[in-house]
């Protein structure tokens, strides 16, 4: 019988430490499938952050450098400038990309660094145990917004993709989700395009991925997947925010 579904070559044979229902493992797999399909395993360098995905190097079978919190945009810049033939991607959470690393992210985009940024937005700080993120929804209870996020004191959820979309150096910005099979397929197309852009030398690509965090949202995995559609994507609408590459999706 023909084997039609198998582990991507660039995904290590390891058990994910992520919680049941978490989006990280899906995104890891998608990136690895793309690395295989583009045949770039031997020149890819991943830049994972502190956070739940700090152990990404246990799963990605590519060179990786774990970087200081939020500094992915700067570290990736250094790598890509020093070794322009490599394929560099950052893997950043919402605290990393949208809070502590806002400046590094924005300026890497503005310089049009030829890198791929993968932005996991799960509206919460995962690894530290469910604190408010810059992308936490209004009214959402976290351990540091125990009465619900109040815009008067905590500000509003920040829409980084829309902000990055304003920056000239960014060639492609898209928001996707990994909560349904259809959305997962769209997410893969967006990620693949973001890697292809780099191979084509087009500049900075950002893919924001709405990703469920059942544990810190205190929901079942199924409920959390629904919540992405019903609540999160209302504030963070899915779709292409910017595309100057002149190409549409492979579909």
């Amino acid at each position: 019988m023909e084997k039609i579904f198998t582990r991507p070559k660039s995904l290590k044979n390891a058990v994910f430490h992520y919680c049941p229902g978490c989006g990280h493992s899906i995104v890891h797999r998608l990136i690895c499938e793309i690395i295989d399909e583009l045949n770039i395993q031997d020149k890819t360098i991943g830049v994972p952050p502190p956070g739940c995905s700090v152990f990404a190097y246990y799963y990605f079978d590519v060179d990786m450098i774990e970087c200081p919190h939020g500094r992915g945009g700067a570290v990736a810049t250094g790598i890509k400038r020093a070794a322009p033939d490599s394929v560099v991607f950052t893997y950043q959470g919402d605290g990393d990309l949208a809070a502590i690393g806002t400046a590094e992210t924005l300026h890497a985009a503005n310089r049009g660094e030829n890198i791929t940024a993968v932005f996991i937005n799960n509206a919460v700080y995962g690894m530290t145990g469910g604190q408010m993120a810059p992308t936490t929804m209004l009214g959402m209870k976290t351990t540091t917004s125990p009465y619900g996020r109040d815009p008067e004191f905590d500000g509003h959820p920040i829409k980084m993709s829309e902000i990055i979309g304003q920056v000239e150096g960014a060639c492609y910005v898209e928001r996707v989700a990994v909560n349904t099979p259809a959305n997962i397929r769209r997410a893969k197309r967006a990620l693949k395009k973001a890697f292809q852009n780099q191979l084509d030398g087009k500049g900075y690509s950002l893919v924001e991925i709405l990703s469920p965090c059942p544990t810190n949202w205190k929901m079942s995995p199924v409920d959390s997947w629904k919540w992405v559609d019903d609540v999160m994507s209302k504030k963070f609408p899915l779709g292409t925010i910017k595309d100057t590459t002149g190409k549409t999706h492979a579909d």
Partner: protein
């Protein structure tokens, strides 16, 4: 090649290019901005080399971290307030065992301080500066020629020990001009350190990290760093002794302060006082054995710094109680003169009854 008249800042930049520095990332801050400008003009056009004016000192040092990951020779420079911002990534590089050269043309502090030359960053430079148990090699030149020479040494030591190396100057050394001779030609192609990450071609993939969830593993990392630091302490100390043979009073000073002290000592000698100077070139590792050795013949030490007394801790630790140590310093960016230091030397010399 013939000597050229250059500022300290420009001399460091030129020496770095000749040492094969491939990537420079910086952010303007007085009094080191000329170094950044020199790199913008001269490094950016070299084949395969990169210059970026980063959005912050934080970004600049993290770009250095990234470039160092690939095996490239990378460098950043700043002055005191900017150095505070860089400490996070320096700690990460120490843990990840990534080489880099970081220049601090220091100025008055704390806070925004002043733009005048000062030496108040001794503790920050020699005690790790960021979080965790780590050290960086710290070189403290005291002339434009030495800035150039030690820049080369800094890159070599960084690669040799996979460690960040700090070149600690000050505003005056950065701004002043002196004739300088460059002893190396720039390589046509910047060198690449073996073992860098450039993609897993022909080998298994590798990762570099500083985090582990296993305390025992982190303890082992700390021990291995410690063993390397011991090795560096044994092999890499460097110092200059000036008129110490028959000296009864020895002035300890580093960097530009040592230049000022030297002038005072020359004049003190002319007045018949037996005074000498001990100048550490490596602030970490501190040349403690060489200093301790001097206490066999000299009993009195005058530690002179352009701060409130920082290196004096290392002076006392080195002497282990075998010398009588007095401190004189001017903090905040005030530049003392040689005649001022001569007055201090003279007073101390008589107070201690060294005039016979």
């Amino acid at each position: 090649m013939a000597k050229v008249l250059m500022t300290g800042n420009a001399a460091i930049a030129e020496a770095a290019i000749r040492a094969g520095c491939q990537c420079y990332f910086g952010y303007p801050i007085t009094p080191q901005t000329e170094l950044t400008e020199y790199m913008a003009a001269n490094l950016s056009r070299r084949p395969g080399c990169t210059f970026i004016q980063a959005e912050s000192e934080i970004a600049a040092i993290n770009m250095v971290l990234g470039a160092s990951v690939t095996g490239a020779r990378a460098m950043t420079s700043s002055s005191s307030p900017g150095m505070s911002l860089k400490q996070e990534a320096i700690s990460y590089m120490a843990a990840s065992q990534l080489p880099a050269v970081i220049v601090n043309m220091s100025r008055g502090g704390p806070g925004l301080g002043s733009i005048a030359a000062a030496q108040s960053d001794y503790f920050q430079s020699t005690r790790g500066g960021g979080h965790g148990d780590y050290r960086t090699i710290v070189l403290a030149p005291s002339s434009v020629q030495e800035l150039a020479d030690e820049t080369h040494t800094a890159f070599d030591l960084a690669d040799k020990y996979s460690i960040p190396v700090i070149l600690l100057g000050d505003g005056m050394l950065g701004q002043m001009m002196e004739p300088v001779e460059f002893k190396h030609e720039a390589p046509a192609v910047p060198p690449v350190r073996p073992g860098g990450l450039r993609g897993a071609t022909g080998r298994p993939s590798r990762f570099i990290r500083s985090f582990t969830s296993n305390p025992a593993e982190l303890e082992e990392l700390n021990w291995s760093l410690y063993r390397r630091y011991q090795q560096i302490q044994e092999k890499e100390t460097s110092c200059e002794k000036f008129m110490t043979d028959d000296a009864q009073l020895i002035v300890t000073a580093f960097g530009i302060a040592a230049r000022i002290a030297r002038g005072a000592i020359t004049n003190a000698r002319a007045l018949g006082m037996k005074v000498g100077m001990f100048r550490p070139v490596t602030l970490w590792p501190f040349p403690k054995d060489q200093l301790k050795e001097l206490s066999k013949t000299a009993k009195y030490f005058l530690d002179f710094e352009m701060n409130m007394g920082q290196m004096i801790d290392d002076v006392k630790l080195s002497l282990e109680g075998s010398g009588d140590v007095t401190f004189y310093g001017r903090p905040g960016g005030v530049i003392p003169t040689s005649s001022e230091v001569l007055r201090v030397i003279t007073r101390l010399y008589y107070q201690k009854g060294l005039n016979g």
